[in-house]
Structure formats: structure tokens, C-alpha cells
């Protein structure tokens, strides 16, 4: 019964990942990340993703702060934040977010404030979606580990 649970969870995870790839939310860089995880570094993916969450939220706050400022004019500073966000998104395979950053940067380079605001809203939406999906994935992974542990109880 428990064995069945482990396989089911694994299948569910794979299905969710396949969906995210299909939607263009993630790309093969995320697979690279998974390949870097092994027994010597068993939590590598979640560690990196958590850093990504932390940094992204800070960047999004900064960006919103800049744009909401009525006196805003520092597009150069905004460009720096956007580049950071673009880089880290690209590094973990967050393809859709990265692409929105590209559009955001273009709007910023044209000093197009309305375009920037639109891009920021899109970013926040996409980021929210991605974060939720990652949480689902990590929860499934946790459950799978628990189920696998119950199947092979740790001695002593």
C-alpha cells in the first residue's frame, strides 16, 4: 500500500513538471539543476529555489517601490534590478519569468513607465504562479520521502 503511494507521488510530480515544461514556465535549465542534486547534495534544488524566492521577492519589492514613486526617473537603477532578476530566473530555468524580464528591460530602456508597470504586474503574477507550483512539488517530494521512509524503516 505504501509502495503504491511512493510511485503515485513520483508520477504526480513528473506530471506537474511536464505540465510546467509544456506551458513554457520552466525550461531545461531546471533539469540541469535536478541533475546537480545527488546523495552528496540531496537538497540542492530546494536550496537554490529558496534562495531564488528570497531574492525575487526583494527585487519585486524594489521594482514596485521604484515605479510607484511619483517622482520616479531612475530607469538605470531599475535596469539593474531587472537584470538581476533576469539572470537568476535564467539560472534556475524560470523561462517565462525571464522572458517577461526581457520585455520589462526593453520598456525600461525606452523610459516607458506604463510599459514597465504592465511588465511588473505580469512578473508578479507569474512569480506567484511559479512559487505555488514549486511549493506543490516540494510538498509531494516530502510526502514521497516520508512514504519511502515508512517502507524502509530506519534501523536503530
Amino acid at each position: 500500500m505504501l509502495g503504491f503511494g511512493v510511485e503515485r507521488l513520483r508520477a504526480d510530480m513528473n506530471r506537474l513538471l511536464a505540465l510546467l515544461f509544456h506551458q513554457g514556465v520552466l525550461d531545461e535549465q531546471f533539469l540541469q539543476l535536478q541533475q546537480l542534486q545527488d546523495e552528496t547534495s540531496p537538497n540542492f534544488v530546494s536550496e537554490v529555489v529558496n534562495i531564488y524566492f528570497h531574492e525575487s521577492e526583494k527585487l519585486l519589492r524594489n521594482l514596485r517601490g521604484l515605479l510607484l514613486d511619483r517622482e520616479f526617473s531612475d530607469y538605470k537603477k531599475m535596469g539593474i534590478h531587472i537584470n538581476q532578476f533576469m539572470g537568476s530566473s535564467s539560472s534556475i530555468g524560470a523561462k517565462r519569468i525571464r522572458n517577461i524580464c526581457v520585455a520589462f528591460r526593453a520598456a525600461s530602456e525606452q523610459n516607458n513607465r506604463a510599459g514597465c508597470l504592465r511588465a511588473l504586474e505580469l512578473l508578479e503574477h507569474e512569480y506567484c504562479y511559479l512559487k505555488n507550483k514549486f511549493h506543490e512539488l516540494f510538498q509531494m517530494e516530502q510526502q514521497r520521502l516520508l512514504a519511502a521512509g515508512a517502507r524502509y524503516p530506519v534501523q536503530n
Partner: protein, 208 residues
Amino acid sequence: MGMATESKFHVLAVDDSLIDRKLIERLLKISSYQVTTVESGSKALKFLGLQEDGENSSNLPSISLQNHQDMEVNLIITDYCMPGMTGYDLLKKVKESSSLRNIPVVIMSSENVPSRINRCLEEGAEEFFLKPVQLSDVNRLRPHMVKAKNKDQNQQMKEEAEEEEEEAVTEKLELHSQQQPNNNKRKAVEEELPSDRTRTRYSGLTVI
């Protein structure tokens, strides 16, 4: 002295992005390298024992020198776009330094700008990787480190051999001048003796 028994190559990775530092560190560790990561060019120079103005830190407390001596760096891999000192600036400083110029340097960048790539290669970078860096990129690093190590070892062997030759010649001359006190000849020979690494010296000596 703190040297590892298995001498793994030691790579210094420089990147202002925490995520990218984590990634490159993992890629390098998986490839069996010893890894140090720093977040800026100036921190990299400090680790390498250089002050930012390019001078050797011989008057700094021994701790920073110790870093340099205990942890020989076999390759530097650096991001291009960093606040303050860019990867290109760091590359230049390394290549301008007599103590560091033999260390191979690799540049990483998220932007594919041909002029940027050429500039770096011309300045002496061995490779230019587009981010996100892959395991296949990291697999290209070893030959550069092996080559640099061989070059250092050959250099060392050459210097030792030259020293031995110098000693042998000096002995011969002393013997010779005891028989024929001709100091001018000795001076002429000694002028040729100062070590000039780029000249192949053996042929010169056998003529004597």
C-alpha cells in the same frame, strides 16, 4: 602547511549573484575541484594576495599571504557583469600581475556580445561561457589547468637546471683562472649568465 594529500585543482569562482555562485560551486565540486567562491573582483584580488592597485601585498599581515601560499589557485572563473570591478577588469589585473599572470582565467556572461567576447579573449581569457553555465562547459576547464601546471613545472625545472649549469660554469672558470689569471674573460661570460627565461641558454653555454 595544510596541503591536501590528493591535490585537486583549486578554482576561484567570482560572481555577485548568490544563485550563480551556488550553481558554479556545485558544478565545480561535481567535477572534483576544490572551490572557493567570492562575490566581487576586489575580494578575488584580496584572496589572490593582490591589493586592488596591483601591488603585491608584501606589507600586509601574514594571514593574507598565507591564503595565497596554502591555497594555490589553478583557475579563475568570473562573471563579466559585476558592480565595481567587472570580470574584464579582474582579468586585466590578473594578467598584468607578474605573480598571477599564469593563472588561466575564464569569463562567464549572460549576454552574447561578440565584441565583449573578443575583448576578453584578446586580453588573455582562455574561454568565454554563456550563462547559465553547463557541466559541458566546466568539462573544458581541466586542460587549461593542466597546461598551466606543466608550464610552471617546466619553468621550475629549467630554472633549477640553469642554476646547476651556472654553478658548473663558475667552477670551471675558477679552475681556469687559477691556471690563467684572465679576469676579462670571466666578466664577459658572467654578463651572459643572468637568468633570462625566454632565451634558451644551453646552446650558448656549450659554445664556451
